[in-house]
């Protein structure tokens, strides 16, 4: 098996030079937790391996003009702990905190997670709810920005070109009048791939007791995380009360049915999503803790 050629660019300039040489068999090494496992278990090597760890400019969290920018090499551990992310995009911090184990979170990156395009990627769900854009750079030095939902096109597939590297995800920072959370259901409580995940963003009008600007992203149902417009419309302008929670949960069941009709896991997921919906709703603290009604 021919050895991969390793390139370790020391900055953005060197990165574009490296990207210029990339072929469809080349790979970018971010954290490596997905790539290295795949290489070892499936016995393959890329022709070119571009190690991003030397590109220090890609590891940051900034807040500028109301936009939160997260460098693609930011690890989940960093996301979880970052005060800006906690204040202005809490669902992302919560999602990052629930990825794998501490060992994984210390190494895996948000950029790598997007590029890996697992339908179950927790932070992708949160980023979709946050309406994130992804900035990339290519071998020609061209910088492009497009919505995250245009990058993660399917299970394991992205629209990234072979010479395109993610440099940043960005989204509008949520203000103090917003509430947001991330929730997931796995096969157990920790260190589990999501079977269902949800990120919820609402703006709370405290005086009127209503929610608006509702954004709901669902993950691990279907090929990639998505926002469900019908579900968002359902909650838009509604009062922050138990009845809304109930409607929301019902709406989630419909959304899951629409997303994965005929899938083997549908019967389970359409039921379990009710629990997820209530977990997310209750985490927002909009009203008294609600429970699904039982027959």
């Amino acid at each position: 098996m021919p050895n991969a050629e390793l390139l370790t660019p020391g900055g953005i300039q060197e990165l574009t030079a490296a990207l210029q040489r990339a072929t469809p068999s080349s790979r970018l090494l971010a954290g490596g937790t997905d790539l290295i496992r795949s290489m070892h278990q499936d016995h393959w090597e890329p022709d070119l391996l571009i190690d991003l760890s030397g590109v220090r400019e890609l590891d940051y969290v900034t807040l500028e003009d109301g936009m939160l920018g997260v460098g693609s090499m930011t690890t989940f551990a960093e996301l979880e702990a970052d005060p800006l992310v906690r204040r202005h995009a809490r669902c992302l911090a919560e999602a990052a905190a629930q990825v794998g184990s501490a060992q994984i979170r210390n190494v895996a990156t948000v950029g790598g997670n997007i590029a890996n395009a697992s339908p179950c990627a927790d932070t992708v769900t949160a980023l979709v709810a946050l309406g994130a854009d992804v900035r990339t750079i290519d071998g020609g030095g061209a910088i492009a920005t497009r919505p995250l939902t245009e990058i993660t096109v399917g299970s394991g597939r992205t629209s990234l070109a072979p010479d395109e590297a993610i440099t940043e995800v960005s989204f509008a920072a949520l203000g103090a009048d917003h509430r947001t959370t991330f929730a997931k259901i796995g096969s157990r409580s920790t260190v589990t791939v999501a079977r269902l995940s949800m990120a919820l963003v609402v703006k709370l009008d405290v005086a009127a007791g209503t929610v608006s600007g509702v954004r709901v992203a669902l993950g691990a149902v279907g090929e990639a995380a998505f926002r469900d417009a019908r579900l968002e419309e359902l909650l838009e302008g509604r009062p922050a009360n138990a009845e809304s929670a109930r409607l929301f949960a019902e709406g989630c069941t419909d959304a899951v049915q629409r997303a994965i009709p005929g899938r083997y896991s549908l019967p389970y997921k359409q039921h379990a999503v009710v629990g997820l919906a209530y977990d997310a709703w209750n985490a927002l603290g909009l009203c008294e803790r609600c429970e699904p009604a039982w027959g």
Partner: protein, 169 residues
């Protein structure tokens, strides 16, 4: 390719393949077989080492990613004065049975205590969530970590003894 690695306080100049995993370089080239391979996919944590104060699964990290960083394995915990406090507490609390998970557990615990010297029990269990054990049921391991932390233990660090011999519960 040539790679300089700092492992357990010592510099090593190594010849490695670019895609060599850190676990293979540590075990096979440096003879540090205390780093165990249990699953090759970052789920069991037996291969946990500390890189720049952070616990990582060495089976999921390339050796080149540790360039310029400090790597600590279980072999580097003890020093000339003796065993690390964590190692002593593991022995004392019976947290070692077959011992295969032990190096990884120690490294995860060490990284935790370096970042959080007063962890709660929940924090300890979460820090060890990526370290699987099939022998102990984790109780003695958690007790050992708690003893090693600076926080006074909330409950007795000996096995929860509802001992039947002559004593009523």
């Amino acid at each position: 390719m040539r790679l300089l690695l700092n492992v357990n306080g010592m510099e090593h100049e190594l010849d490695v393949r670019p895609t060599a995993r850190l676990i293979d370089v540590l075990r096979l080239q440096l003879g540090l077989t205390g780093v165990k391979e249990g699953c090759s996919e970052g789920e069991c944590g037996a291969c946990t080492v500390i890189v720049d104060d952070k616990a990582v699964d060495s089976c999921l990290v390339l050796a080149v990613q540790a360039r310029g960083k400090k790597v600590l394995t279980v072999e580097g915990l003890a020093d000339d004065d003796g065993l690390d406090l964590l190692q002593r507490m593991f022995i004392e609390h019976g947290a070692v049975q077959c011992g295969f998970c032990t190096p990884g557990m120690l490294m995860s615990a060490k990284a935790l205590l370096m970042a959080d010297p007063h962890p709660t029990e929940e924090a300890i269990r979460l820090a060890l969530a990526g370290n699987l054990c099939r022998c102990t049921g984790y109780t003695t391991i958690v007790a050992a970590v708690r003893s090693a932390s600076e926080q006074p233990a909330e409950s007795s660090s000996t096995p929860p003894a509802l001992d039947g011999a002559g004593r009523d519960v």
